[in-house]
Homo-oligomer: 339 residues x 2
């Protein structure tokens, strides 16, 4: 066949795919969302930034969307999953270093006294994190975390933690990607931890996970083979102001859409909205005690140690026209297993 | 039309595209390369890792290739482009802070004495880098660097620095991408600097540039608008052992192919090769004084301050079966403008 003919046929095939993928897209991309301001804000944002001829059209390579994880794409109560991982790793760490058994906070962790553990201070938690997340090779860490995630079950639903992702947010991730957006997790949690399952659970590859990150050291094994060890040195505290800083370091451009659920996400939402053109800033409010949890003083809901949705954050959201997502009112289903 | 029929037609269209895109791929993907061991190594690596049924097939999401920049994808002589940028920024910095005019190393830079500048020590250079690369917002920095890159011309070819990229390496970038590889720049140079032009020059988006990176600070302007400032605090020294460490931080997986040209790339190549399956590790040897430059003691060529290809690196390359690319023998053309 001649080149020109091949070109023409390829053109026709592309056109065909284009037309029918658009026809497919006519079906509701967010079936787990009730009609309301939150769903409307998402759909309008996508249309405004991706439809040809739109005054606020965004070039496909600039389409970046960032998602906090804990409390935004999956459950964060009664404790962050990664903190549970660290606590459950303590016995193995103590086995390797028996002296730790006599020292706090490890002594309390080994006692199993949940009430005492709930009183841990930040320095206590930092000691536990350093002991359980560093000092091994990055490959050993990934293998351990993967093994734990497969076996561990949460206390309420008795399911793997990785099943406790919010179906409506999974739909938003897919909808944005189908419209050319590159989706990122931007979490205060550990970058290496989330990278273990991000591809499988969210369809987000490891390189699109930005999280709190420690340094590594390049070493050689006895056989000369190089490896990286995880060091107890914090490079990036990816919370609050650390979120836009982490986004600059790891992505290098400002997101067009950002999703969070707590004061730790405030700066990421501000930074996203401060760009020109159409920007989407959304906060998940946990107001559904029946299907998930209800917390956050913004709605007179009980305060908790994690995921603080304060009155100040609520007021700022209203002032800046960020959209607050009510789990109770905006979400038809919360999890894929409760549909 | 019924769903099944649409599905069938879409399947046919996909098949058509697949077959003809493969037919297209039969044309030489590396026309600027002479036949020889280097070209052969690249083509065989791509076939081995991407052809269905290959024992060393690599899943498309794991296909990562990393490229050093200075001396690997563009010219690094007589000085790194970014160092020239910093030196040429000194007058503007001194204008804003006149006291610097009386202080070394700024005094020497202002004198224009190139011989004296060539003798700068590392602390001298660090002072210049800190003064010219930090203290402004990230947006101001990008705008300045962009403006400079448009106006500046190199001393030998009298062309914009961004035209001094190696055509054969541009072909490798495109060839790898056409085969599902995600291509990254992994440079000892400044991450923010390279990100200004990476998309336009290499087709590599900012988020796929890993480089030496300083910290930023999240601040508020008087009108309440948030912005990021560049701080004189080094987060990542992306050279030597810093390259695999930077790759872990920013990408989170081991590359399958890595390209470098100096001792600063040794660890990246080692780390790449230490993975299982097929891996490609290549070093560019600058042995073409006529068309570009000839340097590196490995071939009895003169040593220079930048891009050291030592005898030790050469011996290691031979021992570990890394492929050394001879610019003189392997490359038909060096630049797109000298074809």
């Amino acid at each position: 066949m001649k080149r020109t003919m091949i070109n023409r046929m390829m053109g026709a095939a592309f056109l065909f795919l284009l037309v029918f993928s658009q026809a497919y897209a006519q079906t509701d991309p967010l079936p787990s969302w009730n009609d309301g301001p939150a769903k409307k804000a998402i759909v309008e944002f996508v249309k405004t930034t991706t439809e040809k001829g739109s005054a606020k059209f965004v070039a496909s390579e600039a389409r970046i969307a960032t998602f906090d994880q804990d409390g935004t794409t999956w459950v964060e109560q009664p404790m962050y999953t990664q903190v549970i991982y660290c606590l459950e790793r303590v016995p193995a760490v103590v086995k390797a270093k028996p002296d730790l058994a006599k020292v706090e906070p490890f002594k309390t962790v080994l006692s199993g006294n949940r009430e005492a553990m709930a009183k841990f201070t930040m320095p206590d938690l930092e000691m536990i994190l350093a002991a359980t997340l560093t000092g091994m090779s990055v490959d050993e860490f990934s293998a351990e975390a993967k093994k734990w995630l497969e076996a561990a079950r949460d206390s309420r639903w008795k399911r793997p933690y990785t099943e406790l992702t919010y179906l409506p947010m999974q739909e938003v991730l897919k909808y944005l990607r189908a419209n050319g957006y590159k989706t990122y997790i931007v979490t205060g949690g550990g970058q290496d931890f989330v990278r273990v399952y991000s591809e499988r659970v969210y369809g987000i590859p490891p390189e699109q996970v930005v999280g709190s990150a420690g340094g590594t050291s390049y070493r050689y094994a006895k056989d000369g083979k190089p490896f990286l060890t995880k060091e107890p040195k914090l490079l990036l505290n990816n919370n609050n102001a650390g979120k836009p800083e982490g986004i600059h370091l790891m992505i290098g451009r400002r997101p067009y859409a950002a999703f969070g659920n707590s004061t730790g996400d405030k700066q990421m939402l501000e930074y996203t909205q401060a760009g020109d053109g159409a920007r989407l800033a959304m906060l998940v409010l946990h107001d559904d005690a029946k299907r998930e949890y209800a917390y956050g003083p913004a709605q007179g809901l009980p305060n908790t140690k994690v995921g603080t949705f304060t009155q100040a954050l609520y007021d700022e959201a209203k002032k800046k026209s960020w959209t607050v997502i009510s789990m109770k009112n905006d979400w038809k289903s919360i999890f894929s297993f409760d549909k």
